[in-house]
Assembly symmetry: C2
Amino acid sequence: MSQLSTQPYKGTRDFYPKDMRTREWMFGKIREVVQGYGYQSYDGPMLEPFELYAAKTGEEIVNQQLYHFIDRGERKVAMRPEMTPTMARMVAGQFHELPKPIRWFSIPNLWRYERPQRGRLREHWQLNVDVLGGDSLLADAEVLQLAFDLIKKFGGESKIQIKINNRRLMDQLFQKKLGLNEETSQSVSKAIDARDKIGEAKFTEMLDKAGLNTTQKSDLQKFFECDLEGVSRMVAGPGAEELVKLFEYLKESGLSKQVVFDPTVMRGMNYYTGTVFEIYDTSPENKRAMFGGGRYDNLVGLFGKDKISGVGFGMGDVTLQDFLETHKFLPELPRFVDVFVSLPKPEYRVHAEKIAKELREKGFKVMTPLESSGFGVQLKQAVKHEAEYIILFGDDEFAKGQVLVKNLVKNEQKTVDLKLVASSIAVEKQT
Amino acid sequence: MSQLSTQPYKGTRDFYPKDMRTREWMFGKIREVVQGYGYQSYDGPMLEPFELYAAKTGEEIVNQQLYHFIDRGERKVAMRPEMTPTMARMVAGQFHELPKPIRWFSIPNLWRYERPQRGRLREHWQLNVDVLGGDSLLADAEVLQLAFDLIKKFGGESKIQIKINNRRLMDQLFQKKLGLNEETSQSVSKAIDARDKIGEAKFTEMLDKAGLNTTQKSDLQKFFECDLEGVSRMVAGPGAEELVKLFEYLKESGLSKQVVFDPTVMRGMNYYTGTVFEIYDTSPENKRAMFGGGRYDNLVGLFGKDKISGVGFGMGDVTLQDFLETHKFLPELPRFVDVFVSLPKPEYRVHAEKIAKELREKGFKVMTPLESSGFGVQLKQAVKHEAEYIILFGDDEFAKGQVLVKNLVKNEQKTVDLKLVASSIAVEKQT
């Protein structure tokens, strides 16, 4: 048989313990913030019926990026490329039992067949945060506040900006102000969404292709140059009113500095119907949307007659980690192994195990060697495994009921009575 | 478009917040125990090259149960049906960098196309615990001790028995004592593995089919009736010696009562080469192997010339949860929402938010309503969301800088100064 490769499948990552600790640290912080707002964790299966994505997930994803196949029972199934459809399915499944508003979060792994590049992999993890059944703009404000608190938790609050727009406002602009039909509106939407990437010349080209005349193009340009007040005059109506109210809430909550109205924010997904937002990294070398979300209506309606409105966002682990690394927000994590209990001679195994057991019961992470050896070898082992402490003992210490506790970080050691080992380390670790 | 189903894909589960809390509680306990032994967490991608499983995973799994397909780049890929091959690939990938012995664990979700039934689903989560590079039997003893501690952590130590055998012993029995060739040995292995399920008559039939004569069958029967001492006489050699030594270690560690030598334990996987074991639920209505593992050699050798021996086990979440439910070891979990901060009038939003923010900073899970309403409605909301406390205030309380803190579990309430809300709840929750 030919030799197997040690590489992971293209566009995916192996998480060695070091990588895993970073991931768990990030997810731990995320969970603290999200659960602090009373959001509850849910999860669904990795495979879903293909139709679940055919319904509302964008064309590009379904046609070019979805992992799908026929199972052994002739069902057409797909590996989830996003979590929102699963969430909508689950909400529809227990619609009447679930207390409203529903505040849910999840950190699933998602699959898309992409060309691997910075910020984009084939398998990534994504925090999904959603409130359903919160029709008032307070839900939009809460989700934005929460997104901000997430970044703040990592120390990044001065490095980001939240750009906010409203789909209802855009619909009014397209239909009432510019007089576009639905097809042209969609083409113009796409052009605006792509503008940052393609540049001004190609953007104008796309508008021309969509059939916009000079007045329409100039109105659009004027719109882009408006602040919120100007927009409220130019395209008065519910969209602008929602935006004004939302900014009032955010100002009250002390978020004025970090949020900005941006009439060019569209968000790709078709299902957004109100507030849309994107969180930008403001550092010049990384100027792009890190993540975003918005308000969607009737997603749950795909599964039956029940209707419920929602607002939420998704934040990917790859983009987040890039952000944290760029700005050096990833701390050095404490050593994983608290104590290495040495084994000087085979006959001391039970003794060493007793010490280890007591330390484990106190919540310490304790490693024991799988063979006995002298001080030097055991010290090397403990250092190699990055233990914070090593417990050493020989015939003398054993006879006196003592051990040597050595702090490998501070390079200090002291002799401690057996009974006091756990409490001595606990006290030292706290200070 | 026809209406979509709200059911999850066959053989999989939706984890609603209630289910998810149970899962997270179980996994949290598991992590505590495993990390207590200094095992570090790792993870790999959900998809692996098909060949990874074709190599060593059993025939039944690859031919009948593996989810595999061709990706958009013409690669033959599979959804992982077990974690060991991924672990072996990763160890081989950083063989020289990783400090030995390697102590790793993971709780991945795994996929097998099975007929869904009690204890078996198509997607399940499985704790994988492995020590690699620990050639001494102390590694086997540690893994068994750890498996026992896991069950103990859930309070189940009196409900289980660990049955232990040794593959080396079985090889000697087959080849030296019974004089079987490799093919016949494998057939007899399979018969022994299936014995509990198929019954004595069918078992004898399988032995006949394998070509065993009367003496061989009678020797096998005698072997089954032996205790460890008898086996050591009947099939003397390294297999029996390992068993004797392992039982000595386990006795020293105080595990005599829960471990038993069982010459009929085989474990299906081909890669086991030494100690094999299974953990049995001893309650009569549930008498079967919950999980198991053993020592394997040269798995890492599939990827190159490096050799390393390992011992480990896998424990599935479905079987574990069945066990915990059967024996009523699942506790009632504390309420998820700590505090519900009410909003009597829209103009108090900032005030309510300030209270919520302070509580969140202290680590509480805090929910706020998305619209203002009277005491009665808010109380109902808090109860519906299963909050432990509700904070109420009206014009009077606001004017005095106070709030009403109501414990919804004990149905007690008191008036508290604003500044003391967080500390008052913290103190009450601790007592």
